[in-house]
Symmetry: C2
Subunit: 458 residues, 2 copies
Amino acid sequence: MERRVNARSRLIVIGGDAAGMSAASQARRLRGSADLQILALERGHHTSYSACGIPYLVGRTVSSHDELISRDPETFRRDFDIDVRTGTEAEGIDLDRRTVTVRTAGEGAVEEPFDELMIANGAVPVRPDLPGMDAPGVFGVQTLTDGIAVREFVDTERPRSAVVVGGGYIGLEMAEAFVQRGMEVHLVEAAAEPMSTFDPDMGRLVHDALVKMAVQAHMSEPVTGIETGPGGAVRAVVTDQATYPADIVVLGLGVRPDSGMARAAGIEVGPTGGIAVDPRMRTSAEGVWAAGDCVQSLHRVSQAPVAIALGTHANKQGRVAGTNIGGGYARFGGVLGTAISKVCGLEVARTGLNEAEAESAGFEFETATLESTTRAGYYPGAALMTVKMLAERRSRRLLGAQIVGWENAGKRVDVLATALWNSMSVEDVAAMDLGYAPPFSPVWDPVQIAARKLAEAM
Amino acid sequence: MERRVNARSRLIVIGGDAAGMSAASQARRLRGSADLQILALERGHHTSYSACGIPYLVGRTVSSHDELISRDPETFRRDFDIDVRTGTEAEGIDLDRRTVTVRTAGEGAVEEPFDELMIANGAVPVRPDLPGMDAPGVFGVQTLTDGIAVREFVDTERPRSAVVVGGGYIGLEMAEAFVQRGMEVHLVEAAAEPMSTFDPDMGRLVHDALVKMAVQAHMSEPVTGIETGPGGAVRAVVTDQATYPADIVVLGLGVRPDSGMARAAGIEVGPTGGIAVDPRMRTSAEGVWAAGDCVQSLHRVSQAPVAIALGTHANKQGRVAGTNIGGGYARFGGVLGTAISKVCGLEVARTGLNEAEAESAGFEFETATLESTTRAGYYPGAALMTVKMLAERRSRRLLGAQIVGWENAGKRVDVLATALWNSMSVEDVAAMDLGYAPPFSPVWDPVQIAARKLAEAM
């Protein structure tokens, strides 16, 4: 059935980052200005930026925040005829009247009518309700504005000691950034090992590596509060076991989908807290779409909904929504939970399900862990890497994989993500024809030796 | 149907490198010495070595040839109870009497009986029949003995100019090695561009890069002869257009399967010149197996037999044969023509079919070529890479891919090899959940942008 395209309809996009602006620009590519008017609302000051680049901005790996911006509001206005309004927040959605209540900083609220609505307002950072959390010197690092503030603080205040709260991706990346800025760095994590999306035995490898770096890692230590100094600024982070001096504190405790406004409007929100969407990125409300960190996605392995805040999904989902809004046809294929990061040269990557997730999804499975090298053992730069894999009993199907290793280890996760996407058995993974030459791999790629080992264990 | 396993049968393995010794050791793992006697014949001096490592031995990236040897004959004798005889050549196979005629250097020929026979005698290098080809200073680089000879020659004779004949993988790698040894290097190739397994437009990129390196590349210049000096040693390489001074010449013109003895014995040889085998690595003769460079393999995309000499196939096929000889069950899944190499920092990789191969296989297809970067554009070390992809019309199935780029470009071919293994469409390749973080990739991995571009072109 073909979608009816109104003559000159109006699209409102809530959120001007990856998902929202991908959708808006893709819709524009398919429908010209005479056919579709597009209004994009962004509460912050920036559009289409790489939030993943924030740690590198802080660490001075990237010199200016301009480099993180893929397209600024003026570019969208000029090249895409999209009416981008920054400093402008959507406060509510009225599905009956088909309007959004919009407030621009310093002005009154107005009602903006829409024919199509794209919700892409992202995620909100988890902030524990503890004393001192709002003290000057305590930062989140979710938006580019946050990132610029941290960079500015480090550049001007020259903090000597930093505490990073949370040992996940963003925590590790911020720890690296602060090490690069020459600070004493403490990483505080409530769980027993860093990288809680990894199995503890793989997280342990990260922990061991951190100890050898300039990062002082404190595991199994929930934060109980923030100590402030005479001027009210942060002075230390207090855990249930110790107090760590801090001229700056960064919270990397993860995010949750910002789905409150959608829920209030009567749009269905799933069990993950993310807005429920179908593969075309349609919400439960007619003509209302959603994409990015605010939605939940289907996990292709567990077949359960998950909420994963990641720019790569936001971009893909936004493009899918934009194609459909533009009258085209596209479906989002779901996620695998693939993620990759590095901290001071240590690369960590995962895809699919870890042990806890596989158990929770009801799988019976075996695991195998293998240590190999990134290049032929005799080739200079051959670095250690550990691969752990899970496969389902009987079907022998790969369920997930985790990699911890040094240079050139991490991106091998893509082979396993591709294998998962295709529901491959571990035997087939071991059998594949992957690229081999001594500077790139041992004659059997480590991911294949691991798959072989797992096949033999089943 | 279960294979009958004789009490104390005898396996003869012809060829002691990757395929032969993988088969022998795997058979031993499954059948103990009381059950299976194993005799392995190697005409050279070394077993189980990395022929792919030879350029790095010559370039002094690897200090000693010992590092290239994975297991020496003594290890096989001691740990696997395999009777390895080096300097020992199989001269003929008698299928009726079930014997191999064996000659050890300096001794007379003897007949060795077998119950099972494993043929793994590799490939023979292509050597054009031109004047001067046998002059001192002209080398092949196929066996470790060849490689040791070249290294020795360079170490002791200190040649100042080198000519590499042939612009394929081994030619490029040897050119790099000679550059590293401080020589003036000419690369001479009969075709219009280097890397004939790539499309000419991608080969052109390699050519352009070579020009900027210390390698003087001469394309479209067939070699017509070798000039020798007063003592009979090589002095120059002559093409149809010029004469290039050469203190050393290396031939990198490829290899062909060494299937003559098998053919003479009445074993079926396929149209590629490789021994015909089924997926269990059985030849047309009962109880005779073959694996490695001497066999032909099924190409999973063209569904045609191909002869590809590569250690990674030799290892896998040898293991499959050894498992089956050992009474187990294994099948070789075929090849994709995946290959990867580097020359002075430039990485080249390919998988599946190139344009000429796709045409010859009767496919109708589209292509797309895309330039992107190996990391997020703003992240230091982001390097250019070009991806070319082919997909079948109608089915939109990926048929092949080629990558030319700088650090971290090449191994991305594995994602596309995995996609090919699973007959994925280009839309699905673009949709997958691959690992993203700024040090590793742009937010859309280059292979996915290329797939998207190709999808849009179809």
